[in-house]
Every structure is written in structure tokens, then in C-alpha cells.
């Protein structure tokens, strides 16, 4: 018996010594960077270039760039922050940034931003959308506006031209629809989540509606919001394949089975990867609505709970993305204006970006769809909008009645 116990103890001791010896080797610092953009055409290449350049400069530091689908991203980040294990590089959709700032999970960046020219050179949304309770907590990566990406060949085959108003738009997408042949006029996300709410917002904001009024109170029973939901309903029931999420819909556009799609500038990257017989026919046009939905797209931030050394390393990485050269390349990669305003994109770099000018204009016209007054409850807000949208299309309930219910629920959410 004694012998066995002694043998076990000796084994443990040897294992411990070996582990200690291994620990003496130079330690690699890993900065975790989960993002939905890890494999997104265009922008993922830019991130990888930034990472390679950074790792070359900072020997012994590795950035672990991993894919997390957008639909799960915010929930996963919340779980990681709650567990005290956030990734060092925090990449967040701008819509869901505020809950993180409000909970004190992010490092204030004012002092670090003062080391750069970001405050002077960036789009006004940097100051507006990255500030919470008087402090800056993030760096804006992209501001955007939605545009209508369409298949010109299918539009012409339907005998239609680029719509100049919303009636022509609805007519065009419905005319291009032929479900028996697996052909649809437009892709609208109808599975609950961030993208479904964004697609609804394109119509609601397009009709001149806003989720909340200037005092931050819910305002979804206004005639404009109701009109937006009615347009959305007509398009969904008359021209879109039901029950699809954004990735699948983009794929269907690239295959020519869906004739058009409302999306931000990142759609350009997908369009460039479309089937060879579809790619030459893809075009972009402004959405023929009163206003264009958009605003800040995504931001980067630093967790408050990581070590000071790691904060410095992460900041150096973020800072490297704000310089002129990186911003020019970023603009080309996403096919849209970068947040930095003092850069120009050389003509030779723009020649392969057919939608660039449309998205520059869309970004200028864009109205942010972040629900002012409910910013810190973005997740639940998005769920409520999507859920009530489903009532309209699944149960065919009157828009006015559903909006009254949504108004009540949003008011209750604000009171919580």
C-alpha cells in the first residue's frame, strides 16, 4: 500500500517538475479576437492584413482571429464578460455596444484617443455613437447606409426599370417573383434576430418613421412606422422566400434565384463572388425611400478587466487601424467610405468597386436606426420588433393592432 502511494506521489512530482520546466519557455501572448467578419468577403482580408502587420511588429504576440456568427455574437460576448473571461479585442455591432458600456465592462478610451487624431478626423458618429455617459468607449469601424443591390438582367426581363419611388420598388420586386420556378424578387430576412429587425428598419425609416421620439420614448404607433411595416409586409408576402436568414439570402442573390437585396456596403464583397453568369448583372441603386436606414455599423473596444499590458497591446492594434493608409485600404475592402474623413480613395483602387459611389451617397443620407432611449436594451428591443413582425406575416394580424402591442411592450421595457 505504502509503495503505491509513494509511486503516485513521485509521478505527480515528476509531472509537476516537467510542467514547471515547460513554463520557463518564453510565453506567447494571445489576444483573442472573435468576429463575425472573420470570413466576410472583403473586410476579412483587411483584418488579416492588419493582424499580420501587427504580429510582425509585436514579436511574441499572436492575435487569434476566430469566427462567431453575427446572430450569436453579442450573446456569446455577454456570457464571456459575465464569466470574467472577455476576449481582449472586443468587436461589437454598434447596435449592441451600449449594454456593454452601460455595465462598466469597457475601458474608457478618451486618454488613448487623445494620442491619435481620431477625434479630429473621424466621422461625427465616432463622437456620437461611441460615447456613453460622457466617456468614449469605442472606435468606429464603419458607418453605412443601405442600398438596393439588384440583378439588372432579371429586372429588364420583368420589363421594369430601376425604381424611383416606393410603389415602383414594390411593383418591381413583385413582378420579378415566380415561386413556381424558384425565383423571387427580393430577399428579406424573416427569421428572428438582428438582421430581421434591420430589414424591417429599412422600410420603417424609409417611410420616415423612428423607433423612438426625440425624448427617447417608443413611437411605433405613428403613421410613418405603420406605413413602413405595411410596405415590409407587402414585400415579404409578395416577393420573398420566407424563413431565410441573411447568409442564405445573399447566396441566393449570388446564384441568381433572388433578384435583389437590401444591404450595406459589405454586399459588394459578396457580389464580387457571385456565379460568373450572375456577377456582371449585379448593380446597386439607392433605396427609393424618404430616408435611408444605416448609421454606425460596428465598433471595437477594450475590456476593462484585462491587464494593463494587454490593454496597451490591444490599443496599439486598434490604433494601427485608424491611420490613413489602413483607412484607405479599409474603404476599398468594404467598398464604402471609411470613418476617417480626410482620406481620398485613388481612382485606380475604386475601379473594381462598382457599387462604391452608391454606398458613399447612402452613407451620407443614412439615419441611425439605433433606438435612442432604449440603447442599453438593444437585444430585447430587436427581439420584440422581430417577434411582432412575425405576427404580421405569420398570423396576418392588422399592422395597427400589432403596433399598439409593440408600443406597450417597448414602454414596459423602457420602464424596467
Amino acid at each position: 500500500m505504502k509503495k503505491i502511494v509513494i509511486r503516485v506521489l513521485v509521478m505527480l512530482l515528476v509531472t509537476g517538475m516537467l510542467a514547471a520546466q515547460g513554463g520557463a519557455a518564453p510565453r506567447e501572448i494571445v489576444l483573442r479576437f472573435p468576429s463575425w467578419q472573420q470570413d466576410e468577403p472583403g473586410v476579412s482580408g483587411w483584418w488579416k492584413e492588419q493582424i499580420t502587420a501587427y504580429e510582425r511588429t509585436y514579436q511574441g504576440v499572436r492575435i487569434e482571429f476566430t469566427k462567431v456568427p453575427l446572430a450569436e455574437h453579442t450573446d456569446k460576448l455577454i456570457a464571456q464578460f459575465a464569466a470574467g473571461q472577455p476576449p481582449q479585442i472586443v468587436h461589437i455591432p454598434a447596435q449592441t455596444f451600449f449594454p456593454f458600456a452601460d455595465r462598466g465592462w469597457l475601458e474608457p478610451l478618451d486618454r488613448l484617443l487623445d494620442e491619435t487624431d481620431v477625434k479630429k478626423t473621424y466621422h461625427a458618429l465616432q463622437a456620437k455613437e461611441c460615447t456613453w455617459k460622457g466617456s468614449s468607449f469605442c472606435v468606429l469601424m464603419l458607418n453605412y447606409g443601405y442600398a438596393w443591390v439588384y440583378n439588372e438582367k432579371l429586372l429588364k426581363a420583368a420589363g421594369k426599370s430601376v425604381p424611383r419611388n416606393v410603389n415602383e420598388y414594390i411593383d418591381a420586386v413583385k413582378t420579378m417573383t415566380d415561386p413556381k420556378n424558384g425565383q423571387y424578387g427580393i430577399g428579406i430576412v424573416t427569421l428572428p434576430g438582428f438582421n430581421m429587425a434591420a430589414h424591417i428598419a429599412a422600410f420603417v425609416y424609409g417611410a420616415g418613421g423612428r423607433w423612438t421620439d426625440e425624448r427617447g420614448n417608443p413611437s411605433v404607433t405613428t403613421p410613418e412606422v405603420i406605413q413602413g411595416f405595411k410596405w415590409w409586409k407587402e414585400v415579404v408576402l409578395g416577393a420573398t422566400p420566407i424563413g431565410q436568414e441573411s447568409g442564405r439570402l445573399r447566396q441566393l442573390v449570388m446564384e441568381g434565384r433572388v433578384a435583389s437585396y437590401n444591404d450595406g456596403p459589405w454586399m459588394q464583397g459578396f457580389a464580387l463572388r457571385a456565379n460568373p453568369d450572375v456577377r456582371p448583372h449585379l448593380r446597386a441603386a439607392p433605396l427609393p425611400f424618404k430616408a435611408t436606414m444605416g448609421g454606425p455599423s460596428n465598433v471595437v473596444a477594450i475590456p476593462k478587466s484585462i491587464s494593463e499590458d494587454e490593454k496597451r497591446l490591444v490599443w496599439d492594434f486598434i490604433k494601427s487601424s485608424t491611420v490613413k493608409d489602413a483607412q484607405v485600404r479599409y474603404s476599398v475592402a468594404v467598398g464604402a467610405p471609411a470613418p476617417r474623413q480626410d482620406i481620398t480613395i485613388p481612382a485606380d483602387m475604386r475601379k473594381d468597386l462598382p457599387f462604391f459611389d452608391v454606398y458613399v451617397e447612402a452613407a451620407k443620407r443614412a439615419v441611425s436606426w439605433i433606438p435612442f432611449g432604449l440603447e442599453t436594451k438593444a437585444n430585447e428591443f430587436i427581439r420584440l420588433v422581430a417577434e411582432h413582425g412575425q405576427r404580421i406575416i405569420v398570423r396576418n394580424e392588422p399592422v395597427e393592432r400589432v403596433m399598439q402591442d409593440l408600443q406597450r411592450e417597448l414602454e414596459a421595457l423602457k420602464r424596467q
Partner: protein, 311 residues
Amino acid sequence: MSTSVHARAQVSPASAWARLLRGPTAFAYLLLAPAVLTFAIVVLYPVVTAIDISFRKVDIYTPTTPRGPLTLANYLRLFETTGFWQAVRVSVTYVVLSITFALLIGFATALLLNSRFRGRTLARMLAVMPWAIPPVVAVNIWWWILDPSFGMLNWVLLQIGVITKPVNWIASPGPAMAAISMVTIWKGYPFFVVMLLAGLQAIPQDLYDASAVDGAGRVAAFRHITLPALRGVLSLATLLSVLWVFREFTIIWVLTGGGPIRATETLAIMTYREAFANFRMGFAAAIGAVTLIFSTIASIFFIRQAGKEFY
């Protein structure tokens, strides 16, 4: 004798520990310790913490979160919320549908695979294959089958005239419940096959021979020998399946996300949504605690059934 008893009674606690450590069971305790410790950290600590925060107002729980006062508010709110009772209804419907069909299909398949025929080994392998496929992969395969606009199932049903227009399997409440149940049945029936096949093979052939001598037909033999002999296996397999299906998350989350309009929002999905989307971890923990009670009741019922001996 009395001196000896007196001496034993006066053994100090320290020497009792020393004797225990020197005794023949010391090494057994040493070997068990890592498992017990792991169980305490991985299972016991989270359960105790969850029950604790279910009685407190907690939005996002972290180990350093200051504890608020004890309250019943989460439970009171739970029983007042229509969403909770809706989730209970959805959970029960989902469990009953999935388990009933998985059991029937699994039982039929096990009976078939228990008989002798050419290619039986291959058939056994194919029958249990869905069990080996990871849930996310399985759901994605089903996604393509159930796609309302381009899916194979709608195409087949339209071709043979069962439906006249495509069924919206994912975005309509009734079909969405059918869809998640279908995937769960497909994923879960092989477990019944494996368990029941093992049970069938353990039934002595003598019992069937004796019943044949007594003039019993196949139906009578099935009713009076097969079914009673499988009672224990059946109860155990059903219990485990009920518990798995009751806390199923991946299939529902990936396929429908709990929608449309909460039509497939089970207690497991509601717990996740309240904790990680709505940041109400105290409330979510209360849902979890109630789910634990339901699971315990189901376990007691099936364990009692499993305990009844046939032989």
C-alpha cells in the same frame, strides 16, 4: 470487555482520522477524490449558485457580483408571466411528441433488427447512424430538407399531391413544432433501438418456446413476454430520453431560435434567452430551478417503473 468498549469510546477524532488514512480504504478515497472534487466544482457549485441567484434580483451574474437580499420576486413573476406557461406547454408538447414517435419507431426498428435477415449488420449500423451525427450538422442537413422555398420535403409533398402550396416549416407555429420534433425524433430514435435491441437479446428463448408449447401466438407472446421483459429497459431509455429532450437546446435554437412568435420556445430556450439576451439571470435561474423540479418528478416516476422486476 467493558474496558475495551470504554477505550474505543475515548478515541480522539485526530486518531480516528489517522486510522482512516492508514486503513485499507485510504487509497480508494484518494482515487475517488478527483471525481468527487470535479463533481462538486462542475455540477454542485453551479446548481447551488443558480438556486441562490434565483432568490435574488440579479441581472448579470459574475462571481464578484454583490449579493442582494433574498426575495421571491423571480418566482412570483415567473408564475404570473404568460410566457412561462406558454414555454411549459411547448416543452410538454415537444417532449410528448418527440418521445412517443422516437419510442415507437425505435421499438419497431429494434424488433426488425432482432430478427435474422441478410444484411442485418449493415442495417444495424445504418439505423444508429443519426445518433452519431453532431446535432448542429444534423440540424443543418434538416434545414436544407425543410427549407420552405427550396427544400426537398416541400418539393416531394407537392409532387405527390399531399400539399398544394409549400409549407412554411420554419416560420409558421404549427409546422415549426412539427419540424423540431421531426429532427429530434430522427436524432433520438437510435438510442431506443440500441437499448431495446440489447433488452430483446437478453430475453431467454426458452420463454418463447414454452409459450409456443402452450399455444400462445405472436401477439400474445409479445404482450405477455416481450413487453414485461423490456419494462426496465424501456423505462430507463424513456427516462433518459425525456431528460435529454426536456433540456434540448441545439436543435431548437439552430432551427427556429424558439420562434416563430415563441411557438417553439421551450423552458430551456426561455432560460437561455432571459439570461443572455435579456440579462435577467436571477429570473432565468428561477426558470432553471422549476425545470429541475419537473425533471426530478419525471425521474422518480420512471425509476420506479424501471425497478419493477420481470424475471
